[in-house]
Symmetry: C2
Subunit: 253 residues, 2 copies
DNA sequence: CAGTGGTCTAGACCACTGG
DNA sequence: CAGTGGTCTAGACCACTGC
């Protein structure tokens, strides 16, 4: 194939776009549309190469990038699978709070209590974070996570109303496992990437009561915007973390 | 080359080690020993392939991984260069504190004042963090970083005495640019990776005074251990960040 | 055993940089 | 222009999984 005939409609980008990037986009599209669902295998490299009329090496490079971005998981001898927040042996992938004692197990919070769950209209800042318009329907959830009976995390989250139609406090309470796993299996929304802004703050009276600390106890404020495919924001989350027995662990590369 | 004769002494690992990993180790060795210094180019892929008696593709895969770990930087048409904290257009790569106003410029702190710099003996916890023995010589530095005249970061750092022999407050004050760039050019120590533990705390009287805040102002406590090649810890740093005008920005993949 | 991903090679050609 | 990294191919073989 001397002239690599583009198997996809030519991108309007003026500059050069390598074949494997186009293949990557095509696979990404399959992930996004749900052609392959979280936990399921995608076709083998050979099959994809045949489908897209390129060599296996080119498909390989595309999948390599998807794997580096944690969108798929390669398993030698078995296949390549759509990444998932469930059944992933690294559960709670986005939760960076770990106990000070180097418990590497870190099974995630033992106890989760839904304090509140209501539909309402988006305020200006919530709308901005979720790329909605002020007044659009959003779902607000407040919950407390506890480790060994000690309330440690207080979280408020806002979800766009449309994709999460039907989500109620009952369904949240009934769910076992990471919340993002529920979003995947029940609403087809897979969280792929997130950014956090971290500050040190003092809680107000209500927050302090829910975490069983005084208003003078400094807490970590973690504001997260989580995105699905194509960088679409799908969740705003404001967390307050107690850091007297835990800490936020971060790796700098 | 049907039987890929190992160009390096066989690793004693019982399991299989691919060729490109061995090549990667060899290149890593060159980086560590200073055969190629920060900012300098390493030999071209073709040269390395000839030197190690492997194909260019294998060298490529080795360098790909080194580039993914930010140890080298590829520049098309020019070559592959040893990564450096100086002259890297992303300066202050390990500093994640950014102004709340989305100033993407984020030129780093405008003002840096060395408060203290003294040689002393390592306490138990400092020794543990730096893989030294209690009582070994260490260098302690305290400094304050300010943005637009507002003191924002108070940092205490501990460095192992031996590699940093000759480091004084004067040399620190005279240096323009990131501290890690000074470590590279003056002491041959390149920081490659770091891990941070983040908490919310209240400052003591001395800390509050240096940051010009009250003792009731919650601050971000950032404890960092930075490593050189081969995961050797080379710096312990305890930072206190004001987060009333700035926040710690983190990406979750 | 067949099927999967993983490694390695050799060669052709492209895109970018600098003299 | 020569030299660099970047892309793409085709084919051989290896390591791992599960039937």
């Amino acid at each position: 194939m001397t002239t690599p005939a583009s198997p996809v409609a030519e991108l309007s980008t003026p500059s050069f776009s390598p074949l494997y990037q186009q293949i990557k986009s095509l696979i990404l599209q399959g992930l996004h549309t749900g052609e392959w669902k979280p936990g399921e295998p995608i076709p083998s490299e050979i099959d994809l190469a045949a489908r897209f009329r390129v060599s296996q090496g080119t498909v390989r490079k595309a999948i390599d990038e998807l794997a580096a971005e944690n969108l798929v998981v390669r398993r030698q001898g078995k296949g390549t699978f759509v990444a998932t927040h469930a059944e992933q042996h690294v559960q709670y992938r986005f939760l960076k709070l770990v106990p000070d004692s180097g418990d590497v197990d870190s099974e995630g919070p033992a106890d989760r209590e839904i304090v509140d769950c209501r539909r309402q209209r988006a305020s200006a800042d919530v709308a901005r974070a979720l790329a909605l318009r002020t007044g659009d329907a959003v779902l607000q959830v407040r919950r407390v996570l506890a480790y060994r009976g000690t309330p440690t995390i207080l979280e408020d989250l806002w979800l766009p109303g449309l994709p999460f139609k039907g989500l109620t406090a009952e369904r949240l309470r009934a769910w076992r496992g990471p919340m993002y796993a529920l979003f995947e299996t029940e609403f087809g929304v897979r969280m792929v990437r997130a950014e956090e802004k971290i500050r040190a703050v003092l809680p107000d009276a209500a927050q302090a009561a829910l975490l069983a600390v005084s208003c003078a106890t400094p807490l970590l404020s973690v504001e997260r915007v989580a995105h699905t495919y194509h960088d679409t924001p799908m969740e705003l989350r404001r967390g307050l973390y107690r850091t007297d027995t835990h800490h936020y662990r971060n790796e700098l590369g």
